[in-house]
């Protein structure tokens, strides 16, 4: 298609050629072209085939309202060719075709349209029902648009988090005026526009306003906006969601020089001005989907913005003055207009009519398109008089069809604005808006430039006032001005041509015709929400883009109701289709590393994410970790336990806080001793355990489980919020690294590290000391025993921890030291019957149910969280209990989570492992209380065992060293 001569309205840069590939051919377009306009310029007018009948589809609109231009671009399917700016080297493919878009072999499906009525798959393939899965799979394989391409390469998808006083959505005249007015009041403004340039409906129009064409006026406004440092303009940015407190989300498509393909925006604004203008409603008539049929602004913009005359001889069937204006505009560019039909009998703008007359364009009032002729491209139009029924036939290669403008209310609906049907305008308008949300421009029913701009200015001022500026007097002036501007525009509510039925499409995406909608209605699906689900109208990629506008009108006419009586379909985010990659954005993998991360990585640690931490799970590919476990039992091992929560609690009321939160009596903590203590929640469920130490007067140091570290400070504050106690808490989790040295040789290794007396007498089990290690490194030494062997826990300032680890490994060599990781620790603690909170516990079981009631000090006089629940449930029948078990066959180790069956499901295995030292498969299980007796049997079901079970016997933990002698050596 030959480009028109250079004009002031065009947005392409003819000096910048961009090469691309389509159908194996190297082609070129210009910077500023979209993929669709570049293809059109190269003579390709059919971009895809329709979803169901494989009908040819071309450029119908330019703002993504139909799926006709979905293509595979750079291996990404379902990209909107009409909204995607051309980039150098793009690889473009048609989709949903077998062959080429011009000669699609699957087009023969259209010949069976009569056999494929709405809901055919519900009716035809469910009887007998056993056949449904067969058909379901095949139908699903046929359904869907586009396919994933393994050649797709990841690209940069970015994020941006923005804050503003006022966010203006829409960069047309109203949005630009609003942004300027708000900025002049001294507030920060963000302006979003879905198109790659500002100007909205002024951008391409040549109609004169205040002595200059509208496109020039839009450039003036845009220049003024750009000169304001307090206005941030984001182009090619479409709103996705509008949430509470004016939290907006949007996606921005990257320009040629941007480092990202798309980016996801989160915007927080005090006030929002929505000025998204209108969408053009398609006219419904027979073959209204043929390539060569398009809405008025599409035809005019192709010519004015991209210098592409979409046809030489055109027929117009329009419903408003913008249609007349477009016809004039295209006529000025050399298009022959055979006929201009207007569904309105009266009310046309007299000035426009006069201009049309001077150009010899015949205007047919009360006449609409009834049928398009031609196959792969429109070749003629049949017009019908609404009054007489007389038919006129014209040859043409462009049919411009429009049922008028409808406000783009999506953002306001998401913002929970209330809508009301305006009989005069023939569409829904916002009747009440949430606080801090304003609307302006064509979307509130205004059409004249002055009214549009004034409404924008007024909205901008009100938004600024909402943010605190003193704008009252200017608001009064603008309100008065707007009231004086009467809008005489006469709109039409005409949508469907007489006789439109089969092949008259309401929804282009899903190939839903008027006949489909009406048959659905007759079957009882007589509301928009029901009908769209039955017919799938509006359920396709454009999500109600075109279908959503016309479906209510078609239904109301069929049901004999007023247009306002049938509400449009509900709108939900995303308002514009967004790639999952865009939502993911940079998707940074941010996690916590312990101070020993690098050292353990060098030692061959195999890491896993454990909550927010990355920790080594194994130190070899033997995932039973038998060697790591054996070495702890026989020599000495060391494990990184830096992730344990560590806290300082101090202040005059620190003990009161401990007493309230811990279930034991914390007043009994002895200096130099660590007290094992547990916290339960209000239901008596164990939520945390650790050790508590008294470091000085009103000064405590305590540890928590890894999982609870982040919540502990809040847990203390929450449960003491009404107490007015004076205590403070400092999270020291990251301040100290922690190493657990365990095994019969652990003391000997530690002796190489310190001159302090660490004998059993000086540091007995559950004692702690402040000591100094080699090189003067300070350490807090705790004698604890989670893994069942003599053990020392060293808490060392994090920056020193790696040095201590390296020294221990070096000095411990003669004693057989080696690191062990989480899985080995899991086996070792299981041998001792120690629980891990969240693995062996759950919210249904209390401290007593776990057999840990010994931690609860019943003589404590203070009010402690969870005690009432513990008392109430202590002897409650029917509670789950935690028990230990051994399987009868040692080689059968049930998986964690395996269910325990006795006619019914009676419990589940919480954790189970094979213990080499015991030569047995052991585990813990939560079972119904009635089963929890020592010596009782368990039948454990393991997936894949069919009707067989693993049999086990309930035994009393600990399984290993039940007297605890090895801990106290």
């Amino acid at each position: 298609m030959k480009r028109l001569p250079l004009s002031s309205t065009e947005r392409i840069d003819r000096n910048k050629r961009l090469g691309f590939t389509y159908q194996g051919r190297s082609l070129h377009g210009f910077e500023g072209d979209t993929v669709a306009t570049a293809l059109l310029a190269n003579g390709f007018s059919i971009f895809s085939r329709s979803f169901k009948y494989h009908r040819p589809r071309g450029l119908f609109s330019l703002d993504g309202e139909s799926s006709g231009c979905l293509m595979r671009i750079n291996h990404t399917p379902n990209v909107r060719a009409e909204q995607t700016l051309l980039r150098e080297g793009m690889f473009i493919e048609a989709q949903n075709v077998w062959g080429t878009p011009e000669a699609d072999k699957l087009a023969l499906v259209g010949g069976f349209a009569k056999l494929l009525p709405t809901g055919f798959y519900y009716k035809m393939f469910h009887r007998p029902y056993r056949l449904w899965p067969f058909f379901q799979n095949r139908l699903r394989n046929l359904a869907g648009l586009g396919s994933l391409d393994s050649a797709w390469k990841d690209d940069i998808y970015d994020n941006l988090f923005l804050n503003a006083d006022v966010c203006v959505v829409g960069g047309g005249p109203a949005g630009l005026s609003a942004a300027l007015a708000a900025a002049e009041e001294g507030v920060r403004v963000i302006l979003l526009d879905a198109r790659p340039w500002l100007g909205g409906s002024y951008d391409w129009r040549t109609r004169a306003y205040q002595g200059q064409p509208l496109y020039a006026r839009s450039k003036d406004l845009a220049t003024r906006v750009s000169s304001k440092s307090s206005i941030r303009v984001l182009l090619h940015t479409s709103l996705i969601g509008f949430y509470a407190n004016n939290h907006l989300t949007a996606r921005q498509i990257g320009g040629v020089s941007d480092p990202f393909v798309e980016r996801y925006l989160e915007i927080r604004a005090k006030a929002v001005v929505v000025a998204t203008g209108c969408t053009e409603r398609p006219l419904v008539f027979e073959n209204n989907d043929r390539p060569g049929i398009m809405v008025t602004n599409c035809a005019e913009r192709l010519a004015r913005t991209w210098a592409l005359l979409p046809g030489q001889r055109a027929v117009f069937s329009v419903s408003d003055d913008l249609g007349l204006e477009a016809a004039l505009s295209l006529s000025e560019l050399g298009m022959e207009i055979s006929a201009l039909s207007d569904s309105r009998q009266l009310g046309q703008n007299e000035e426009l009519l006069a201009h049309l007359k001077t150009r010899d364009i015949p205007v047919l009032k009360g006449v609409v398109a009834q049928k398009a002729e031609g196959k792969n491209w429109v070749q003629g139009a049949q017009l019908v008089s609404l009054q007489s029924g007389s038919v006129h036939r014209y040859k043409c290669n462009l049919l411009v069809g429009s049922a008028g403008q409808v406000p783009a209310l999506g953002p306001l609906i998401l913002a929970k604005a209330k809508l009301a049907y305006d009989e005069k305008k023939g569409f829904f308008l916002p009747s009440s808006l949430p606080e801090g949300v304003l609307a302006a421009g064509r979307m509130i029913g205004l059409n004249e430039p002055q009214a549009i701009e004034t409404s924008g200015t007024l909205a901008g001022l009100k938004a600024a006032e909402w943010c605190g500026s003193d704008s009252a007097s200017r608001i009064r002036e603008e309100e008065q001005k707007l009231r004086s501007l009467t809008d005489q525009t006469n709109c039409s509510t005409f949508v469907k041509a007489p006789g439109a039925l089969a092949q008259s499409f309401v929804c282009f995406d899903e190939d839903v015709t008027v006949k489909d909608v009406l048959s659905g209605c007759d079957e009882g699906f007589d509301s928009v929400e029901l009908n769209k689900r039955w017919t799938t109208a509006g359920m396709g990629p454009s999500q109600g883009g075109t279908a959503g506008l016309n479906l209510p009108f078609v239904l109301s006419e069929h049901l004999g109701k007023n247009h306002g009586e049938i509400l449009p379909s509900h709108v939900r985010s995303p308002l514009s289709p967004t790639l999952l990659a865009t939502y993911a954005g940079r998707n940074y993998h941010v996690y916590k590393r312990t101070p020993l991360h690098d050292a353990q990585e060098r030692a061959g640690g195999i890491f896993r994410l454990v909550g927010v931490w990355k920790r080594p799970r194994y130190f070899s590919t033997d995932f039973t970790c038998s060697e790591e476990v054996r070495n702890v039992h026989e020599n000495v091992g060391l494990i990184d336990v830096s992730t344990l929560g560590k806290f300082r609690l101090f202040g005059p009321d620190a003990l009161k806080a401990l007493q309230k939160l811990y279930i034991g009596d914390m007043s009994k903590i002895v200096s130099g001793r660590a007290k094992y203590a547990a916290m339960v929640n209000e239901d008596g469920c164990l939520i945390d355990d650790g050790v508590v130490m008294k470091m000085g007067e009103n000064d405590y140091y305590f540890t928590t489980s890894t999982a609870r570290a982040a919540q502990t400070a809040e847990w203390f504050r929450y449960h003491t919020r009404y107490e007015s106690w004076d205590y403070k808490i400092v999270n020291l989790t990251d301040c100290f690294g922690a190493i657990n040295l365990a095994g019969p040789n652990s003391r000997e290794v530690l002796r190489q590290m310190t001159e302090a007396d660490i004998s059993n007498e000086a540091v007995p089990y559950m004692a702690f000391r402040e000591i100094v290690l080699k090189n003067g490194i300070p350490a807090r030494l705790l004698r604890v025993g989670f893994v069942g062997e003599m053990g020392f826990e060293l808490h060392v300032p994090s920056s020193f921890t790696e040095s201590v680890w390296n020294l221990l490994l070096e000095l411990g060599k003669p004693f057989g030291i080696s690191p062990f990781a989480l899985e080995a620790q899991n086996v070792l603690r299981l041998e001792k019957g120690h629980v891990i909170i969240g693995i062996d516990t759950e919210l249904r079981v209390t401290l007593n149910d776990l057999g840990m009631g010994f931690l609860w000090d019943r003589n404590k006089k203070t009010n402690t969280i969870g005690v009432p629940a513990l008392r109430q449930t202590e002897n409650q029948p029917g509670r789950m209990k935690l028990v230990g078990f051994k399987t009868e066959n040692p080689d059968e180790t049930p998986p964690d989570g395996a269910i325990i069956v006795e006619k019914d499901i009676r419990g589940h295995v919480t954790s189970s492992r094979f213990s080499h030292i015991l030569n047995a498969s052991i585990g813990l299980a939560l079972v119904e209380g009635s089963m929890a007796r020592i010596g009782g049997g368990l039948k454990i079901f393991k997936p894949g065992m069919n009707r067989k079970f693993i049999t086990a016997t309930i035994v009393k933990p600990p399984f290993y060293d039940p007297e605890g002698n090895r801990l106290r050596m």
Binding site: L160, N163, Y588, V590, Y591
Partner: protein, 206 residues
């Protein structure tokens, strides 16, 4: 001499010059550093948490206390951030700085926090790629501290100027947060910077 203390952040870029400070090897200059867009590891700098129900009683002879939560004061090489009614956070921005007595209300948290400086003319542009915190609000003071998520990590953000931000956060996140920040700032030429760049920007400001 070998360092026996380790920063939570290890940069891939090659160091040119370093020195030992308090047991840490501190990189003064990197090979590819960019003075106008740099991320500088200051995790080795001393830091303290101060909590007291009567913070005002501490000063002013010992320490000037910022009057409102969110305020910062720079004094004698120390940046004092008021986090809330009862809590302060102190960062020593000088390589040599004061040591405090063993006050009950004070807890040394040097090893608990990673601290990085984001400096350069693009600092705010980079920041808005990784955080929704509003650093540009018209009501903001000349210097201030905010608390909130940056690259999804809870951080304390001290705004010293539009080209100079300090980010303090849990040490464990140090390495991955640094990598995320460098990635976000790549389009602005953000590079790991040595401490000389930090000193340069600090001297420009104070």
């Amino acid at each position: 001499m070998t360092a026996n203390r380790h920063s939570p952040i290890q940069c891939q870029d090659k160091p040119v010059e370093s020195e030992f400070q308090n047991g840490f090897e501190v990189i003064l200059t990197y090979t590819n550093e960019n003075r106008d867009s740099a991320l500088i590891d200051l995790s080795h700098r001393s830091k303290w948490d101060v909590q007291s129900s009567s913070l005002e009683a501490i000063g002013p002879d010992i320490l000037k206390i910022p009057s409102e939560p969110g305020d910062c004061i720079y004094q004698n090489g120390l940046l004092v951030n008021r986090l809330n009614k009862t809590q302060l956070n102190i960062w020593n921005l000088n390589s040599e700085g004061p040591t405090f007595p063993n006050w009950f209300f004070l807890t040394e948290i040097t090893d608990g926090q990673a601290l990085v400086a984001l400096v350069g003319t693009s600092a705010l542009s980079i920041f808005e790629k990784v955080s929704g915190l509003d650093l540009k609000g018209p009501s903001r003071k000349e210097m201030f501290v905010l608390q909130g998520p940056v690259v999804h990590v809870p951080m304390q953000v001290a705004y010293l100027s539009q080209s100079f931000l300090l980010l303090g956060f849990s040490r464990g996140y140090g390495q991955s947060a640094e990598e995320a920040l460098l990635d976000a700032g790549a389009e602005y030429g953000l590079q790991p910077g040595g401490e000389r760049i930090f000193r340069h920007w600090l001297a420009k400001l104070f």
